[in-house]
Amino acid sequence: MDLMNNNLWRVKVGLAEMLKGGVIMDVTNAEQAKIAEEAGACSVMALERVPADIRKEGGVARMAAPRIIREIMEAVSIPVMAKVRIGHFAEAQVLEALEVDYIDESEVLTPADEEHHVWKHGFKVPFVCGARNLGEALRRIAEGAAMIRTKGEAGSGNIVEAVRHMRAIVGQIRRLTTLGEEELVHEAKELGAPFELVSWVARNGKLPVPNFSAGGIATPADAALVMQLGAEAVFVGSGIFKSADPAKRARAIVRATTHYKDAKIVLEASEELGEAMRGLDVRQIEEKDLLQTRGW
């Protein structure tokens, strides 16, 4: 791909490389951002309400207020991300003007466009997007996403969807590597993804950008699980600030993410954490209330 020789693309993916092996935490104010940084978060995600509250309170969920984002940027020295609604390129322009470090075009907010996502190559600031399978991941990369995260089911405190999506992406990548050249064109059609990207993945056995996990991580063992399934870093949303002891839980999830293959350390990290967020059975969530089906 020509992209690999494009310097802007390289520094966009480069920052995602720097976040690997780390934990990116949802925060709604400067005080939470400081707790996250103190606990060892490699980045924070600024948003108006955590997904669990958006789910509970309803209403239109939008980009966070610039004042809050600016306060968070001033409070911490780690990279600050912020969310925009799917397809809302004007919110993205505002966040770029604010100089956030990464934009999450996120299904957690109420979509602004049900057909088109943001054309992310048109921005200097890098984007991360959610995906449930390889086709969706490659469509987002084609639009310019420099990082992919599984969607999971945000605000559920339930890891099952994040696992489903990570297994789908990793499994589909593995399958691509076994196909012959002549089979890839048909595969591109089936995946609904550009042939050039499908072919690249078949040759390299991985996505051309880092692949992180999100949507339902609530415990240190959840983090260790998705890392062992192939995630290169984790996003934790409601899981931290909806738990009994956010600072302690944040630190424990960071530790478990670093040492994800070392069960003794994950055990240590799992002890005496207080109560995790309550969580939801995804099967009890009505179809219309699912966040993961937003975007395509």
Partner: protein
Amino acid sequence: MARIGIVAIQGDYQAHAKGLERLGLGCTFVRRPPDIDGTQGIILPGGESTTHLKIMKEEGLFDALKEFAGRGGALFGTCAGAILLARDVRGPRQESLGLLDISILRNGYGRQLASDVHTGPTKLRNEPLEMVFIRAPIIESIGEKVEVLAEDGGHPVLVRQANILASTFHPELTADPFVHQYFLNMLAQR
């Protein structure tokens, strides 16, 4: 052949592993003090220096790395790694290993929008080096014993002091193995 460890708390440690692989070398990932045993050189990768610092202290790796350098072990830090090696860190102030006599400013160029790829000369060869800067720090001052191996925009970007090498850019994000090869040569000379 030298055994190299790469601190694998968080960050682009896999990119460094790939860089060594290109030179025909394997590596050990270092997360806890016992992982250092048997290595002659250790790489501190890019990532978030605040995160690295916290986990290093938690696992006792912070003191273990100081001891390793004291025994004559060689260290190579890129970006966050250079921050951790520095004597003095600003923007904001934070603790560091203090093994390299430089003063360094975190996010010296600004936020992600200031990240960029430059090409600049180095004292080490005639061809220029490709330098990938990601939210990079700036080396503001250096001690007498520090040798500047490359500069960019009036700031030192690749420096060496005896067994310690540091760059504010990411040679591991380029296809050029030159800086990693230089680090291996440093090990061989000792």
